[in-house]
Symmetry: C2
Subunit: 165 residues, 2 copies
């Protein structure tokens, strides 16, 4: 059923969710970004069933988000580490974290600062220069991969969000 | 099972995914950001089963991401629109879109520009000033909501990612 979306929509968000949008997948990526590498550690820290964890790890490996390597100091054990493609999901997770901190009514458990300076990270979001732009301050335009359907979506989007006739 | 994570981890990412991390939820939010408001339009554009769509819409409404309003021009029809909390998910979706454009081997269907100037949106991500910082350039520090477990996670994270003894 999901593939229908993927094929029909020609949308980078749908395609991204196709690779990391399953329940648990982004939590596994988050765990990897917290330094977890071993199957048993993912399992106990997430409280996830072993068969589900195996299936999610395998699909993240297939999609090139994680890779399985021999663990340091033990040739018998394997470790799961983020690939460059996996590390590139960091902005998605920071955006989710900031949204949670702002909207879910709890105090932030973790703050992020620049390692070299200690300066706090600014709000993540689409920007031109200093300010993060809101949904209605951004216009969609066709990219090189646009299809007829994309053009329709873009027109509908700009009409609805920007209030254009 | 999932609640285990939520309770044990005290993590804004887990809590955010608890509200919008189900399969379909972020695609529904994306549709709403493309201007879709009617049940039948969500249904046909996403190719999602009606019962699943109903369940996802209800949980997005319960979580304050969408609200159900009377459709303009028809008192009998209802429309689903984003709340301010829902619109605040825009950075998450833009981050997923940029990741897809960069890593999924297709040409970008849509480009985003600032509405008022036409200038292209910059890469979304954690930054201090001009440059988007990578995972290993960011340090985690305790926030006001940190627990003992958070402190352990932070230490482990900085040791693993920043290579600190």
């Amino acid at each position: 059923m999901y593939r229908k979306t993927f094929d029909g929509m020609n949308c980078s968000i749908a395609r991204s969710l196709d690779q990391v949008g399953e329940w648990w997948s982004l939590l596994i990526v988050r765990e990897a970004m917290l330094g977890t590498t071993r199957f048993d550690d993912f399992q106990s820290r997430l409280g996830i069933a072993r068969n589900v964890l195996t299936s999610r790890l395998n699909s993240l490996i297939e999609n090139g988000v994680l890779e399985r390597v021999v663990a340091e100091g033990s040739e018998k054990r394997c470790a799961y580490v983020l690939t460059p493609k996996g590390k590139a999901l960091y902005p998605v997770l920071v955006a989710l974290m900031q949204w949670g901190d702002q909207w879910l009514g709890h105090e932030a458990p973790i703050k992020l600062v620049e390692h070299s300076t200690g300066l706090p990270i600014e709000p993540v979001g689409p920007r031109v220069g200093e300010r993060v732009l809101a949904l209605h301050e951004v216009r969609a335009v066709p990219g090189p991969g646009a299809t007829e359907k994309t053009l329709e979506s873009i027109e509908k989007r700009n009409r609805a969000i920007l209030g254009e006739g």
